[in-house]
Symmetry: D2
Subunit: 366 residues, 4 copies
Amino acid sequence: MSSLSGVILRAGILGATGTVGQRFISLLSQHPYFTIQVIGASSRSAGKKYSEATKWKMTTPIPDEVKDLVIQECKAEFFKECDVIFSGLDADVAGDIELAFLEADLAVLSNAKNHRRDPTVPLVVPTVNPSHLNLIPHQRSLHSLHKGFIVTNANCSTTGLVVALKPLQDAFGPFEAIIVQTMQAISGAGYPGVASLDIYDNIIPFISGEEEKMEYETLKILGDINETATGFNHISFTKISAICNRVPVIDGHTECVSIKFKKQPPPSIEQIINTLDSYVSESQKLGCYSAPKKAIIVNMNQDRPQPRLDRDNGNGYSVTVGRIRKCNVLDIKFTLLVHNTILGAAGSGILNAEIALAKELIKAKT
Amino acid sequence: MSSLSGVILRAGILGATGTVGQRFISLLSQHPYFTIQVIGASSRSAGKKYSEATKWKMTTPIPDEVKDLVIQECKAEFFKECDVIFSGLDADVAGDIELAFLEADLAVLSNAKNHRRDPTVPLVVPTVNPSHLNLIPHQRSLHSLHKGFIVTNANCSTTGLVVALKPLQDAFGPFEAIIVQTMQAISGAGYPGVASLDIYDNIIPFISGEEEKMEYETLKILGDINETATGFNHISFTKISAICNRVPVIDGHTECVSIKFKKQPPPSIEQIINTLDSYVSESQKLGCYSAPKKAIIVNMNQDRPQPRLDRDNGNGYSVTVGRIRKCNVLDIKFTLLVHNTILGAAGSGILNAEIALAKELIKAKT
Amino acid sequence: MSSLSGVILRAGILGATGTVGQRFISLLSQHPYFTIQVIGASSRSAGKKYSEATKWKMTTPIPDEVKDLVIQECKAEFFKECDVIFSGLDADVAGDIELAFLEADLAVLSNAKNHRRDPTVPLVVPTVNPSHLNLIPHQRSLHSLHKGFIVTNANCSTTGLVVALKPLQDAFGPFEAIIVQTMQAISGAGYPGVASLDIYDNIIPFISGEEEKMEYETLKILGDINETATGFNHISFTKISAICNRVPVIDGHTECVSIKFKKQPPPSIEQIINTLDSYVSESQKLGCYSAPKKAIIVNMNQDRPQPRLDRDNGNGYSVTVGRIRKCNVLDIKFTLLVHNTILGAAGSGILNAEIALAKELIKAKT
Amino acid sequence: MSSLSGVILRAGILGATGTVGQRFISLLSQHPYFTIQVIGASSRSAGKKYSEATKWKMTTPIPDEVKDLVIQECKAEFFKECDVIFSGLDADVAGDIELAFLEADLAVLSNAKNHRRDPTVPLVVPTVNPSHLNLIPHQRSLHSLHKGFIVTNANCSTTGLVVALKPLQDAFGPFEAIIVQTMQAISGAGYPGVASLDIYDNIIPFISGEEEKMEYETLKILGDINETATGFNHISFTKISAICNRVPVIDGHTECVSIKFKKQPPPSIEQIINTLDSYVSESQKLGCYSAPKKAIIVNMNQDRPQPRLDRDNGNGYSVTVGRIRKCNVLDIKFTLLVHNTILGAAGSGILNAEIALAKELIKAKT
């Protein structure tokens, strides 16, 4: 997108030593629009060099530009110069810190769950509902801010689900019912996260709070922003049931989805395939740098999608959908795969920032 | 069961070198009622000693009693002296061989899929529908036999499902709908089976023919035998959708099940728990040696059942059920675990034989 | 062993909620000589029922006899009635607590590393050097005790190594050099222990302190007790190099060993095989209940031993040795496997107690 | 390397549907010097489109340029137009086919083992011994060829080892003894290769022929080409012992190496580190496109190298060395990691071709 060439946004990262923070650093260090200006972590790490305070777990080396950066405490005063803040904070501290950053008129894109249910905070999956960002002026007016905001991305499993559902809802109307069963990767639990003795040769059929998140967030994201851009209309007429499991896979959440449409008869399998395959999200139309060539890749080989083979599709920003077929109980069933730490976490924050920039909700120095 | 003490049945094993055959040998070698008399395999192995022809993959050593047994071809003439035949044959050869054994008036308990859909062959999960064995006299009359029969056990995933469904159907009436999503262990695919490069750090969201088997077999097993004991009444009014995945777990199939009852309002969670927990199958009432103390173990710890921790419950003959809770779309959802190579395969064959013995459908020399 | 029939020892367990403690409970609950009398853990768990305070991770259920036992603090006053104490304490607390138990005249068998290097504490692998227990009278006299003692078992990797080395040293004289490289299971690191993100699709080529332990302990265990039974003669003339790795295996440490004998020419491969295969340890001669039928199982199939197939040999008390062959640099190389949480930890403590009982170093009420 | 800009070599690939072949295609499709001209496989696949005949197992999609290429039989007549041939053939067919291609005056870079021991065939690890390519004129004269040759790369495990040993031998003289113990990834066995039931929660302490290959190839590669460039002087005075294991890791071979130098006293740890860290191979000096920035990366963090974190160093062309320390038996020990399917297989072939091009042993059309 030519109008953005030369843009440099100074980014701050909260929770920079954690797994989401490491992914933010890894993605931003290769990004042409952002420069990593300030990194924040707990007071235990503050004052240390990043490379000394961090157990780096990415499969690429620590970027040179952050190695020697000194970690700051997560206080707004240290981040004043930043154009945009990415938060990978843990939920036990994210709520208050992000609020303090908002009050300091800083633009915060958060991966934490704390503010996702706030009626004035957009919950945005970048390839699904960027229109929800239009509430930012209202949010600012409530807090008397000029450039600050809080925008959250969704839970990793929710993210994959809504990418597949959005074009179907757009094309064929609302859902009567959704049943989704997940097989979630261990990286979704952070580090140290899942003990190897708990997951090796095993499945854990429970992830605390996850099913509730999927059921709530899906209906907020698939809903509209209201006409005055002051609130969100959650979908109220769709029944949704989520079943979440942890499986021994490193990256990539697999989800088996069954859906029933309100309108009957339902679309044909071919219509579903075509609709998913031809979906173009607003992030792509805006020409955002990280937007994938295809938001949804349909792969109808009978044994796809598979996490190890498909998670990196679109550099981790595409959702891959396969096994689209009739369901004997609801209408249609299919299987999808989402990269849980890219589109499902840090990548969503970055792509949301790119959209906010394109919509001039973040102002960049050029 | 005192009346059986001293019984010794001479067992033949077909497909003895394969994974199901190895499990038959492992279980029978420790069994007080059976002695392994003849072992059969392909003509490639015939004539060799068992220990030389077999890549033994059980975690206990080859039993001494079979080490030096010479493998026979799978022809009925070599098995004439057997009181009972256990078949672990592959589906590509099982159909014809088992039929030939039937015609030779031999009693065959088969793990193969070939005859499961035959309207005159009982498809029996021993802790669910032993009453289906009552069709054996009719089957014999059709073939003019005295003691021969074919009885099949169910597909491994079907097995776990129907154990949990049977007491609920008995107590609360038929199901309107069933959605089941499986996470199946690699041992279910035999040996060499799944390539490590295909399943390590991965999930395969497809198992050939498995979803169709689950949907068909469940409705046959949950149905009745007719009044004249000459056929089976399949359940016709229950919609069922199966979604099958292969996961990196060695043994133990996990299944996430959502159900809706015809009769509304549905039973409470507490009623479901009590019904499952207090279930006693006919195999237990008959005092069968391999019957588990509990056919169903309810474990309501929030993160159970887990394959590595629960698959050996009841020596692999119990099904463990947990996470019983409301479903927002259907009525109830829960997660179950079944040991796929014990109750889900060879163990069912053996326990079925014990039931047939108790019902005097197999005659033992004492 | 007929003279022991009817013996019941009242056992106390320290660190009962941890992984080694759980293994002690699991093994003792099925043991005819022991009854679990008192269980101790940290003050955080004290006062709670065992089943409530423990994240039980064994693959068999919590034994009924301990479910409702109330956990005590690890103070000797609560364990006075015990005939024998098994310690599965962590190293950060084991040193002082075990010493206090010793001073209280209690017989302690410890899995902790703290006292292993004490010149008055026997470091005993039960199928290798039970003669070291003969120092107990001297240890008692130093502390003015009647029945108390501390005996430690060895590090899990050391244990496997010395079982294979002991009969070779006995038969062919001392070693000039030993090089051992380990591939150690995750259960050796306790719970939660190794993070799944660290070990899945990965190897960690370092285990803190492990190489030093193997190099030190091997030379103490392979040495003699002195003539006056007041000290141990460490082997001083053998060079030993240990290389330790963590691998994605649940249970069972694999070790690749290369050895050079002082005396040249070295024994033949056949002599090595015969010596290992015919080895009978003192624990077997004493008829100890847990002693395996064979302390060493030689399996010369070219691809054995394997952890998943061989770790349960001898109920986890046998060491399996294979791939015995010439080494181009030293004399001989081979691969061994030891169950790290049975013979390599809790099982050694229990078998050591059985030996002490047989040697009348523990007095039992009959 | 400016002199090569604009070079396009027409490449043929033998064994294109296998795992090594797939890696060749994946690497070549992104390579500026090569265009994939012809792909060959077995007669079973010949005549089919590549995308239809291949079970593609790379984690990136099939390159567009080969999708619709029609597979040829591996006969020289179909490859006449190629400037260079990369062979990923299985050993059971590679010997004869590659010889036929040589006789047809084609330049063959082979990953197969068949010709590695031929005294007239260079066995070349590109970051170790490119000087061995100087024998090509002699090889051509023996076969009366103008541009054809056979050059092989080394076994994957050998490759990692010699990269670490070469600079040490150059700096400190020949080795008295080498002991190497490997933990090899499953991808090294091809596809389907290792059965998941054999390697999950397991180690296989044996890989057929691997130890012999490592012991032979290392001494050929570390040796010189003779003065007349007509033969290779194998190292004859170094004793070497290899111990090879298969472990549950997808990509990346880990090797624990202990070495003793002829010259005593041996170099210090610091000298070893500096020598490895400052090593620059001829492939780097020649400016080859695929040559890594560093042939050896020394990482002295105590728990490195690790396969998942280090295998992609230098795009898979670097060897990572860590844990360099004293050995109590030999002089020095360390642990290394090599990407077994990149530098350890297809990548070596490609980088060897680049070196041959730079040395004008392959003639390119510009």
